[in-house]
């Protein structure tokens, strides 16, 4: 189980592989992964940059609690959450959630739970820079289900 906050861009596949290398090959049969990345359009406007603010300390605490909640609900072998903070550019990854489990139902359910819980509980806020140079705080999430 691991939570990483990254202030520079990251490679989701590399971090997933690095984490998986600590697991026993053959012990899990299902790996569900989600990557959220920055789109260059939001609510109809061209977006050229984003700043991700967070609440250091609370962020890590909430993400670790979310993983514990997932562990209490599903038989999962391991889980990884990586979240970006700071200034990011379109196309860069914002978040990675990965779950390893014996079977696929738990992996899918827990991976999606991590994302939904993160989006409602982990203190991150997005501020977009539009093409015309203006800034705006993102005020709501898209629906998760």
């Amino acid at each position: 189980m691991a939570v990483l906050i990254k202030s520079e861009t990251f490679n989701p596949a590399s971090l997933q592989a690095a984490h998986e290398s600590s697991l026993n090959t053959g012990s899990f049969g299902a790996t569900a992964t989600f990557i959220g990345s920055m789109r260059n359009v939001n609510e109809g406007d061209d977006v050229i940059g984003m700043m991700l603010e967070h609440y250091p300390g609370m962020t890590e605490k909430e993400l670790e609690a979310i993983i514990e909640d997932a562990r209490s609900q599903w038989p999962i072998d391991d889980a990884l959450i990586v979240h970006r903070v700071g200034d990011i550019k379109p196309g860069e990854p914002i978040v990675l959630t990965a779950v390893w489990s014996a079977h696929r139902a738990a992996a899918f359910d827990a991976c999606r739970f991590l994302m939904e819980a993160l989006k409602s509980r982990a203190p991150f806020w997005k501020k977009e820079t539009l093409k015309d140079g203006t800034h705006r705080w993102v005020e709501r999430n898209t629906p998760g289900y």
Binding site: G57, H83, L118, S120, P123, F124, W125, W137, N141
Partner: protein, 76 residues
């Protein structure tokens, strides 16, 4: 003793000259902390935490706490 107060994201930009510390002996709830730290009414939908745990505005506070106010979360 004092209560430390933090504001995040759009709230940090909107609230004019908030106090970063308030007198703990004057605040019983999170709402009291808001009223001591700012001259503005608490907007709807503001979220709050005490010592890094999500809390409601009516929840109690104590000397030495860290209280934070922030808008709805938009990470992920």
């Amino acid at each position: 003793m004092t209560i430390r107060v933090k504001f995040f994201a759009s709230l940090r930009e909107q609230i004019i000259n908030p106090s970063t510390e308030v007198d703990g002996s004057q605040a019983k709830t999170i709402s009291d902390v808001w009223a001591l730290a700012t001259d503005e009414p608490m907007p709807a939908h503001v979220l709050c935490s005490v010592n890094l745990d999500h809390k409601d505005p009516g929840d109690p506070v104590a000397d030495g706490d860290e209280v934070a106010f922030f808008p709805p979360i938009t990470g992920g």
